[in-house]
């Protein structure tokens, strides 16, 4: 008998049934993707990548975000888009001999960058390390006793703004990239929240917005930038930008201004006269996890 004219075989039926189950399971697995579309406007869905926004697009998008902040948080904010300054590449240096581990930098970051108040989120992790070891495998980032202890060194760690950033390389949608002035930024509206970058970062510098940030209106920092400290939507990655909205205007980062020990030095790495270059020229600096080849723009040093 010809194969085509035979009645339906048991094996064929089973295969078809298995296939149907598979299709149904796949559909169910992807169904959460349908959820967010309810809350998105057409304008938000059609918004393009930051680098493809025309000045008119930016005007429209920024005004929409400002209106959204007014509705959601009841506060008037300004969302700007300061551009990289010519012949400028930002660098940071931190004197571990002076740092006392008080976490004022982390607190300032929390306030400046409109972090979620409930989780007390911040981009800076301060490590407490045995003096003379710098053994990060024995470091404690969750100490909660009066500081400094005499036998400890304190090491704040934030985004190292690597010249070869592993986090941008793994992004499947190029929602994060390195700007010409060295700052690694995220387009929060392009990010799909896959957290690959968080896994790729060897400095644990990236954070994920698990929920919509809670910030009381009185505490919202209204001086915001699209790529920096605007209130991030839930489900996106965020990270330290050296306070892009401040430093591109020539100001110092919030963590530096808050440091009561004066342990932080900030400046333009391309200016041989800048203070951060003075650190590199006159101190024995080292970078964190140098062997990984990430080429950080963040230098640690000791003094007497």
């Amino acid at each position: 008998m010809d194969e085509r004219t035979r009645p339906l075989r048991r094996r064929t039926l089973l295969k078809a049934a298995a296939g149907a189950v598979g299709v149904a399971a796949a559909g169910r697995a992807f169904s959460p993707l349908l959820g967010p579309w309810d809350s998105l406007t057409l304008d938000e869905v059609l918004q393009r990548h930051y680098s493809e926004l025309t000045p008119e697009d930016k005007e429209r998008v920024f005004r929409r975000l400002e209106e959204k902040a007014r509705q959601d948080y009841g506060v008037a904010v300004t969302i700007s888009d300061p551009q990289p300054r010519p012949r400028t590449k930002f660098g940071y240096a931190l004197n571990l001999s002076l740092c006392i581990g008080c976490r004022q930098c982390a607190q300032a970051c929390h306030r400046e960058n409109n972090h979620d108040r409930r989780t007390r989120n911040t981009y800076i992790t301060v490590m407490e390390i045995g003096k003379g070891t710098l053994d990060l495998s024995r470091a404690n980032s969750r100490y909660d006793h009066p500081v400094p202890l005499p036998d400890k060194t304190y090491m704040p760690v934030q985004c190292q703004q690597c010249d070869r950033p592993p986090c941008t390389a793994v992004c499947p949608v190029r929602a994060t990239w390195k700007e010409p002035d060295g700052i690694v930024v995220v387009d929060y509206d392009w990010c799909i929240g896959c957290r690959y970058c968080e896994a790729a970062c060897p400095y644990h510098a990236r954070r994920f917005n698990w929920a919509k940030p809670e910030v009381p209106a009185a505490e919202v920092n209204p001086d915001q930038a699209y790529l920096s400290n605007r209130i991030r939507p839930a489900g996106t990655m965020e990270k330290c930008t050296f306070c892009l909205h401040r430093v591109r205007m020539g100001r110092l980062p919030a963590c530096l201004e808050a440091c009561p020990a004066g342990a932080r030095v900030f400046g333009n790495l391309l200016d041989p006269g800048s203070e951060v270059r003075q650190v590199i020229a006159t101190k024995r600096v080292y970078v964190l996890k140098e062997g990984l080849g990430t080429v950080p723009s963040f230098y640690y040093f000791f003094t007497v």
Binding site: R87, L136, R142, V147, P148, H204, G250, L252, P260, D271
Partner: protein
Amino acid sequence: MHRGEGERVWAIALALGAAAGCFGGPDPRPLARDEVAPRAPGAAWAYPEELHRPYAVLGTNAGVDDANGKPARIPCRVCHDRLEPKDENRYALRIGGFHAGVAIEHGDLTCRSCHEPPRFEGFRLQDGRPVAYADVMRLCAQCHGLQARDWQRGLHGGMTGHWDRDSGPRTRNHCIDCHHAHRPAIPRMVPAPLPLPRFQDEPGQAARTGDLDG
């Protein structure tokens, strides 16, 4: 594998690849690399650098508030115009009253190491030359030369304002903004509150340490 299945797989892969390609933005912008010409020595910035000045009245807290609600300060000379300090009180450790907060725990320094006797009105260097209050940093630099050099280069000490002083001014801290001149060790303090732990397995259980391990 049937004939034609290979083509189908390729077609699907191409379609998926094209779809994924649509998500990607343009190539990243190149990093700035040109070195900026160094500023000529002494070349002026557009904006000044201010030194955060310490309080203006050299003296001790009176223990009462003045008309503006700030702690009233009494200049040393009010009493020491006439009164010669006793040698046993050279560290001002166990005397109360006006001297209650003066206690000197700074190496083996005494009042007279920096304050100019007999009236304690001004300061003097170790070689006896007087120093104005505004230049009091020179007193510290006599012993703490390395820190003073780092401070001059902008590598030590806090500041606020602008890193680029062609964009705006900057205010720098003075030695005694952070270090008490009499007790220069920075006192122990309670750190700012921690963020909620990410790696806590159960509420109340000790959090893991070594976030940066490996």
